[in-house]
Symmetry: C2
Subunit: 240 residues, 2 copies
């Protein structure tokens, strides 16, 4: 848990390396950030169960860290909505209700609509290529049985338009709900042993996203979200 920050070594006898790869600034990663990443993963993977009560002391012991940075990490995760903290009382892991899921889909529709409006004229080859890479990655995770990886791949696929559109606030808004969406996707798969998403759904999304008609793409966003939501409804009624 106590990693040492790796320094980037540049050797003087490799001038080609120097000219081809930009030397990126080193960003110091706080310990509490690392704990937050572990905690996020533990929640999404189901290791820490939705709806369960968690305590700082217990988690600090489990992760082998002191309470201070663990508490900061929890603050971050709470800001992302994956846990809910009531002062002086305790903290509970988010348990998504059907209504929560409906909200995720409806808000996503609005945000993704805006994102595509913003990005439409600025799509370029890099965007297309990256979207295809992420789509391929998504399909590949479906061959595995890793709920965390495939839910993450789906979030990454949908994230590209936000990352590309140059609207910081919108990207931030997306990031705020992406964790919840990933939690839902991972849980859904665990609960139903079903591989999500439907494969051809994202194929069509991809084709329209790189296509020539914004209107068609916006219709597809609507349809894509409604399909996602209807699928969830189906599984809920089947589970009951």
């Amino acid at each position: 848990m106590r990693d040492h920050n790796e320094q980037v070594h540049t050797t003087m006898n490799e001038p080609q390396l120097m000219s081809q790869n930009r030397v990126k600034p080193i960003k110091r990663e706080t310990f509490s950030n690392q704990i937050a990443a572990n905690l996020r993963r533990a929640i999404i993977s189901g290791e820490i169960e939705s709806g369960s009560q968690i305590t700082e002391s217990d988690l600090a012991a489990r992760f082998g860290v002191s309470r201070g940075p663990l508490r900061e990490a929890m603050g971050q995760i709470a800001a992302e909505g994956l846990i809910e903290t009531i002062p002086y009382t305790g903290t509970r892991v988010l348990k998504l209700s059907p209504e929560d899921v409906r909200e995720i889909y409806s808000l996503r529709t609005s945000l993704e609509t805006l994102a595509f409006r913003e990005v439409w004229e600025r799509r370029d080859e890099a965007f297309v290529r990256e979207l295809e890479i992420r789509h391929k990655a998504l399909l590949e995770t479906l061959a595995l049985d890793d709920h965390v990886a495939s839910s993450e791949a789906e979030v990454r696929f949908h994230s590209l338009v936000y990352e590309t559109c140059g609207h910081k606030l919108l990207l931030e808004s997306w990031r705020r709900i992406a964790g919840r969406m990933q939690l839902y996707l991972a849980e859904h798969q665990r609960a139903h042993g079903r591989k999500a998403p439907i494969e051809d759904a994202h194929e069509r999304y991809l084709q329209l996203a790189v296509g020539n008609s914004l209107a068609l793409m916006l219709e597809e966003i609507d349809a894509h979200m409604q399909r996602g939501f209807r699928q969830m409804e189906q599984y809920l009624s089947f589970a009951d």
Copy 2:
């Protein structure tokens, strides 16, 4: 700064009071939350200037509190976007660029459109009354010269639809940008000695919000936002 929580006293010889007013649960307010509120206000009021570098030790001394809860408060304010923290380096107060303001308006348009779609069939007398109360409060602050109060009143006026629509995630998204919007409004007024908003703009907004045509209201949201943004552009060109 160290307030004591006030207890609600119920006297036994006032049964009428008991039956008419619900005894509300007491919510414990953490110290760090209180600090966050003060810090938020100091930023929005301009007491702590946009773009300025702030340090935990300095603020802790200024507020007369210890660094721990001050640090937590700063974490909260950072999550709201009013300050930006770079690990191990420092924290800067948000300085809104014209592009930031454009983003606020475009995202608000999407969110407020969704909010009115969600709320339209569930508007009732209480909604109408409350919107009128908040509109009136907004007009009253215009008579004063208090940038913080009037910017706050404008945010409150626009908040009602989010609070009413029953979409938690949407309310949360709104709250994430509301602080930035208030900061912009307050700064704008300070910089230009102009009373914002234009008075009849909110009159029209109110009429349509309580009216019968969702389509007209959605057009007004678009128009309202475009007017706001155009006004900002005007002031920017005038200031240069």
